[in-house]
Symmetry: C2
Subunit: 630 residues, 2 copies
């Protein structure tokens, strides 16, 4: 039962949240007061009655989680932090200023913000990851609360989340849709048709509760019902008014993302009953320990016999399973291709740490982001081509300062018959252009295993690209491959050019090396398995030693991949050492025409990235074969 | 009423489609026979009774459209083409071979394939674009048929399509979900729970019909009901068996994407009643003319006074409206930010050619791909950051050889206070690495208008990046800016270095120029508005003239953007002329730390891409200022 005292407290707190949202945005001169005001009542009830959170220990595993999927309502979130007593009024007034923790959209610079939001439709799928952690790994009774805007339900990723949350019976997940009817540029698609939202949510297997989002009693009852249910997630569909509480703003167009002018501010605050300084004692969370997911064991990586043929995707699967055995915090996700990525072996060995994400790459990446909030180490895998589906989520994961590990298999034209739709040809470019990223591209099974082991503790977005085809094992099982390094696998003091390859093209480079050697041309051959960071000093040395003659060959589009990484190594980027050797004569061999179906060999040849093309490129640089020169 | 004759014909045809799917994949040694067999009955009824198509004139505007969203069922599609008499058995047996039109997944190399599929969950959203064209632009009675797999309904993009199709009452759109229960690695999430699919579809506003997908009478009735409805789209949810018709394949795991061995093939074909050579006379389509969307008018581009301040996104909106007035085939789409992209002006002027896509970027790009199938010229716009959401759709649009025009606004840190989530910082890298792409980045309003005009007829994926902030108009309204060109805006015969910028950084370059000039250093200043293709010869000339001293400055991550494009111009990529000038000393100035909120000026400074940073970079290259040198 809702008490009169509660009703009074909530009203006062909600008005304070509105006033503070207005004050912060007016002084900032920009921001979203009206989108904050619509959800103030709901958040007032949540903060005082249902939310359990130890603000002094944001990493307390028992804490409830709160994600503002509608990140533009950041002023409301920050006003809640003020009401919780963890930021002061001065900091609130620093909103959107350089150096402030209170950015225009929430980021984990604030210790109570787990993930960045602001690209709509991402908060709920990330919450699915957190709720998976809570229910299946931690096995703790915390709840994951998500505030969504109504407009963002147009994003398909929201429905991936609805789907997966129900599939995994995430009764610890509670979504609140703030149906304020008005999007950025007018009425939303569904307006105030809360029944439409409800039908959709129920059809996806959720408990759906429609309420007046400004009626505290209804809010209270809905949250109570959400907590009570134990076989499905709940969505509270709150009909609200944008700008609620101020007549000149309420439910009016033209006020999205607009701060009030000082005179408007004054009037609005007066109408809301003036400033308040309420501090809420937020409920402390439970004090249980998370259930351990296993005991650490010594790492026993797989090893492979030299000169056998093993696909690097196969080695990835083997190594991931070994890592899972060694590190109980390693978890794996896959988008219904685990028999192609070989993540199925991990899934079989550690079913409780494997999450099938079906064909929903956005949800897969979002779940990984959610899982790493609770310090798990998620490895998410699918075809390299299909990771492009989640590029916005990967971009935002970087803003979240997330630590996630991604594997893209079936890279390049060398997949063969399936054709262009299945070929990852832009992944190196896309991942290199992600902040905090590491990009790895092994050429051999033993190398793959060593890199997978290093991925585990690597910070940021770590991407491993693998090959469909079985390729020769060229390294000993005890060789080391540090991230940021490279392997000079053929070298002499008479090298006239350098071939730089990685993955499938390294094997073409080795074939080219042999043929060139027979023709009297020796070339240095470098395995650039670490595409980002790239091994600048080895590349500089090679250019120095081989008259600046470089051939870079990659199974990727011409732009942004390994060739670009090599070029960057010779440009004055950041703190890189300066190159002062002979002038570069660099030839990039990469895919430039749209590939078709064919055998891997045919397609490597057609794309001019095979041994023949490498030999031709080297010959075009090396005018005088060694035999004539000496 | 279904007749006995029909039942017999359908049975025979369906068996033929199965046999041919098996034959083609067995000879190829790979492919998806069982995923083809499950849908053979449904497709047999469609092809003989409901599909209206002029195979001799695939571009006939009255043709029905058929999209295999489950692109891996390509053998079935090709078997249908054989049954329609447009490919022969010899060609069918070329499946997946180099040089064959019959690729592993359908592509528009075949004249009857409008768009490439193979990345799941894309066919239905593309069909929404085609159905929009049919209902609102062409105003022709053709139907758009889409065959989906059950697994792909896990993709959020499918629900974006369900949502938009109902919103636009696309009663000309008929989706068929082939619920064969088995995904690539086991049971799908929903298995044979056709009711769950039905509930979801109905909740999204569709007519949903559950049938036994191997019962011809039920198929017939469902298609009839789909054609009859006139206020909503229809989905036929067909419960089927993967591998239907062959006991050793039917509804069994382990048969996804697997060809039969010759001995298995022989037995299967026998069980299916042997080979058949049925040719179907497919119904001819209607003969109406599409409704014209307007009359061409002379193009009157907007023009802007020099030294006023205008945001390039504002100029884009103005130019798009002008283009819309001139070219009746120009259509516009936006993802609920049309008041930020200024597409609202087009929407107001030409409401019948504007499609609000709400916050569903994947659906927006897919609809653009669908619209261009019917030769409309779609311009799709949103924040640059949010186009990353649709990267897989853009990648696949290239495989579709689609001609679409995209605009990304709010690029870079210069957007200011909203923070990193809203900043497009990887868009140049991402778009450069798309096949067939053009990447434009204007610095001024007049230039923007000229580039928008050129986008209209440009083939492939054309991307225009714009800036949030108002920037000075620096060019005359009559200046020309050909794609592939650049503007040398400051030049002398004593230039000691070259600054290359574009967009917002060009204005910083101009400030740097003035300050350097005052300090006795003259620098060439180049506006590289065409990032791809880049103006190689002007860059070579500048390097030649300025001792190889280049500073490239961009509001983008360090990787893959303008700096990479400039480096590529000096590497031996494709047919590029070779650079033979002084050794390059190239400094890339770009964003390397995660930005926060702040004013545009503060953030440009913090990112070290403002005039101060440019001056420092030039000074580090130019050891001897001109004054001392002379």
């Amino acid at each position: 039962m809702t008490t009169q005292e509660e009703l009074h407290q909530w009203y006062e707190l909600a008005q304070q949240l509105r006033v503070d949202s207005i004050r912060a945005t007016t002084i900032a001169g920009s921001g979203h007061p009206t989108s904050s005001m619509s959800a103030a009542d709901v958040m007032a009830v949540l903060l005082t009655k249902y939310f359990h959170y130890d603000f002094e220990h944001p990493k307390n595993p028992n804490n409830d989680r709160l994600i503002f999927s509608k990140g533009h309502a950041a002023p409301l979130l920050y006003s809640m932090y003020k009401a919780a007593g963890v930021i002061n009024d001065e900091e609130l007034r620093s909103l959107r200023k350089l150096g402030s923790r209170l950015e225009g959209h929430p980021t984990p610079i604030l210790p109570w913000v787990d993930v960045a939001t602001g690209s709509l439709g991402q908060g709920l799928p990330i919450a699915v990851g957190l709720a998976l952690a809570g229910k299946y790994l931690d096995q703790l009774p915390y709840h994951v609360w998500v505030l969504l805007g109504d407009s963002e339900t147009a994003e398909g990723s929201v429905w991936e989340a609805f789907d997966h949350a129900a599939h995994y019976t995430l009764d610890n997940l509670i979504a609140i849709i703030d149906v304020n009817r008005l999007g950025q540029r007018g009425q939303t698609e569904l307006g105030w048709n809360t029944q439409a939202y409800s039908h959709r949510a129920k059809a996806f297997g959720w408990q759906a509760i429609e309420i007046d989002g400004h009626d505290f009693t209804q809010i209270d009852h809905a949250m109570n019902a959400a907590i009570a249910v134990n076989d499905r997630p709940t969505v509270i569909i709150a009909r609200t008014k944008k700008g609620q509480g101020v007549a000149t703003l309420e439910d009016l167009g033209g006020w999205h993302g607009k701060a009030l002018k000082p005179e408007q501010e004054e009037q609005a605050i007066a109408e809301l009953g003036g400033e308040r300084q309420i501090i809420i004692q937020v409920h402390q969370p439970d004090t249980q320990e998370p259930v351990p997911t296993g005991k650490p064991q010594p790492l026993q990586l797989p090893s492979y016999e030299k000169d056998t043929k093993v696909a690097t995707r196969r080695a990835y699967g083997d190594a991931l399973k070994a890592l899972g055995n060694s590190q109980p915090d390693v978890v794996a996700l896959d988008a219904e291709v685990s028999n192609s990525t070989y993540v199925e072996d991990f899934a079989e060995a550690f079913p409780e740490r494997y999450f099938e994400m079906y064909i929903a790459e956005q949800q897969m990446i979002a779940a990984a982001v959610g899982l790493q909030v609770r310090k798990y180490k998620p490895f998410a895998s699918t075809f390299a081509a299909f990771l492009t589906r989640a590029y916005d989520f990967i971009r935002m994961a970087a803003v979240s300062r997330a630590n996630i590990k991604l594997m893209g298999s079936h890279a390049g034209v060398s997949i063969g018959q399936d054709g262009a739709s299945q070929m990852g040809l832009e992944d190196l470019a896309a991942f290199r252009a992600v902040w905090s990223s590491t990009v790895l591209y092994p050429s051999d099974a033993n190398q793959t295993a060593k890199l997978v082991a290093q991925m585990s503790d690597r910070q940021g977005i770590v991407y491993l690209r693998t090959t469909r085809e079985a390729t020769p094992v060229i390294y000993d099982a005890d060789a080391e491959f540090p991230i940021g390094g490279s392997k000079v696998i053929r070298s002499s003091d008479q090298d006239q050019a350098t071939i730089i390859g990685a993955g499938i093209t390294l094997h073409e480079a080795l074939k080219a090396y042999e043929q060139l050697k027979n023709a009297g041309i020796t070339v240095r051959t470098i395995d650039a398995y670490s595409v980002k960071p790239i091994d600048v000093s080895t590349l500089h040395q090679a250019a120095q030693d081989t008259e600046g003659n470089l051939v870079v060959v990659e199974d990727h589009w011409l732009e942004g991949g390994l060739g670009a990484a090599v070029l960057d190594a010779f440009a004055g980027v950041g703190e890189m050492p300066t190159y002062e050797g002979p002038q570069l004569q660099l030839i990039k061999l990469a895919v430039s025409e749209m590939p078709t179906s064919g055998t891997p060999e045919e397609l490597l040849h057609a794309a001019k990235i095979d041994a023949d093309a490498i030999i031709a490129a080297v010959r075009s640089l090396v005018k005088h074969p060694l035999s004539t020169k000496c």
